[in-house]
Amino acid sequence: MAASSKVLDVAGVSKRFGDLEVLSDVSFTVDKSETICVLGPSGSGKSTLLRCINWLEQPDAGQIYLNGARVGINSSGTVMNDRDLSQIRTRIGMVFQHFALWPHLTVLQNLMEAPVQVQRRPKAEVRDEALALLAKVGLSEKRDAFPAKLSGGQKQRVGIARALAMRPDLLLFDEPTSALDPELVGEVLVVMRDLAREGMTMVIVTHEMGFARDAATRVLFMDRGRAVETGSPEQFFSNPETERAQQFLQRYAGDTAARR
C-alpha cells in the first residue's frame, strides 16, 4: 500500500484520566476511502480514542498523523497553539452522539458557520455547497428551521451535512445513532452507507453491528483501552480471533435475539 494513501496514522496512543488508563498503546491506520468501524463494550475507550484524533482530548503518549502531518505537536516538539490546532481540526469532520448542533443558528447556518467563519471560504460558494449537502441528506425543506424543531434523525443528518460542509479529509463519528429512537436509526445509517460507498474516509464508533458488518472496510475491536483485534468485517464477525471479541459478539447476538 502506498504511503500517500494513508489518511490517518495513530501510533501508540495512551491516555489516562487520573488513575484510570482509558487508552493504552493504541495503534491503527486508516487509508483513503476506508470505513473503519470501532467496536467494543462500553467504557473500552472508543470515544476517547476518537476524541484524541482531533485533539479534543490530549493524548498522554503516542503520535497521531493526518495525511503525514503530526496532529497536536509542533515540529519543535511543543504542544500546538489553538490557531494551529484549529487549522488541523477543520480537516477532520466530527459527528457527535447528541448531535451538538448550534441551537441559535438555522440548519443552513449550521452548515455554513465553520466554512465561512473558520475556513474563510466565499459565502456564496459555501451556501451552494451547503444546499447541495442538505439535498443529499434529504433535508432541503428544513434549511430555515432551527435544530430544536427537528427530530433526532433529522438532527443527526444535519450533523453529518455540517461535517461534510468543511470538505474534511476524514470524518469521525462518535456513536452517531446511540441517542436515537430505534425507528430513526435507519435514516441516519442510510446516509452513512452512501458516504461509505462514495469513498469518504471515516472512523465510526458504533454499536450497530449490522452496519459494521456490511458497510465497514475494516473493524477495530477495542477492550479495556486496547486495540485488541482488527480485520475485515467478514473475518471479525464470523471468526473472531480473540476470546474477548468472541464474548462480545456472543453477548450482542444474545441481545439482538432477545429484542426480536
Partner: protein
C-alpha cells in the same frame, strides 16, 4: 391635589429633560455594562488562575458595594487619580462599571448551564478563543439569559436615580428640584415614578421580543 399636578405639568420641560437624561444614561450604560460583562464572562470561566481571580475579585467586590457609595467613590476618587470627568460622564462610568460585574455574573451562570457538546463541536470545527466565544458560546447565552439581563437593565434604570447625589440632572433630580421649588413632593415624585415605570415597560417589551427569538430556538 389636582393643583399640585398642574404645577408639575407646568414644569414638564424640566421633567422631560430629566427623563431624557435617565433614558440616555440608562441605555448607554446598559449597552456598556453588557459589552464589558461579555468581556469579563470568559475571564470568570478562565482556566488561568491569575485572570480568573482578578475577574472574580472585581465582580464579587462590585456586588458587595452599595451603588450609592460606589458613585461617591468614582465621583470623588477619580479626580484624586488625576482623572477629571464631568458629572454626566462620571455617572455613566459608575453605572457601567458597577453593572458590568452583574452582567458578567449573569452570563457566567447561563454559561455553566449550557450543554457542553455544541461548544465542543465548535472547538472540533476549528473555532478557538475569541471567535469561539463570539460565534458559538455567546449567542445562546444572550438568548437564554435574556430575561435576567432585562431585569438587570431595569436595575440600571433604578440605580441611575442615585446619581442625583452627584447633581446629574436625571429624572429623580428633576422631580426633586420641582418639589423643592414648589413644595409639591407627592405630585412630583409620583409623576417621576410613573415615568420610571414607562421606561421599564420599554425594557419589558424588549425582553419579550428576545424571549420570542429564544423560543423559536428551543
Amino acid at each position: 391635589m389636582i393643583h399640585d399636578f398642574g404645577i408639575v405639568w407646568s414644569e414638564r420641560a424640566l421633567l422631560l429633560s430629566g427623563l431624557a437624561n435617565t433614558a440616555i444614561l440608562s441605555a448607554l450604560s446598559a449597552v456598556a455594562a453588557l459589552v464589558l460583562g461579555c468581556g469579563l464572562a470568559p475571564a470568570l470561566m478562565s482556566k488561568q488562575p491569575a485572570l480568573l481571580w482578578t475577574a472574580r475579585f472585581f465582580v464579587d467586590g462590585m456586588r458587595c458595594v452599595p451603588f450609592l457609595l460606589f458613585a461617591y467613590i468614582v465621583y470623588y476618587g477619580f479626580p484624586t487619580f488625576g482623572v477629571r470627568l464631568d458629572n454626566w460622564t462620571t455617572g455613566l462610568a459608575a453605572l457601567s462599571i458597577y453593572n458590568a460585574a452583574y452582567m458578567a455574573e449573569i452570563l457566567r451562570g447561563a454559561w455553566v448551564a449550557q450543554p457542553r457538546e455544541p461548544i465542543e463541536a465548535g472547538i472540533a470545527f476549528g473555532f478557538s478563543e475569541i471567535r469561539l466565544f463570539r460565534r458559538i458560546i455567546l449567542p445562546p447565552l444572550l438568548l437564554s439569559a435574556g430575561p435576567v439581563i432585562g431585569n438587570q437593565m431595569i436595575q440600571i434604570i433604578k440605580d441611575s436615580a442615585f446619581l442625583t447625589i452627584i447633581a446629574l440632572p436625571e429624572l429623580t433630580h428633576a422631580a426633586s428640584s420641582i418639589q423643592s421649588r414648589h413644595y409639591v413632593p407627592f405630585a412630583a415624585f409620583i409623576t417621576a415614578v410613573f415615568l420610571y415605570w414607562g421606561l421599564c415597560l420599554v425594557i419589558e417589551a424588549g425582553v419579550t421580543s428576545i424571549g420570542r427569538l429564544a423560543d423559536a430556538r428551543r
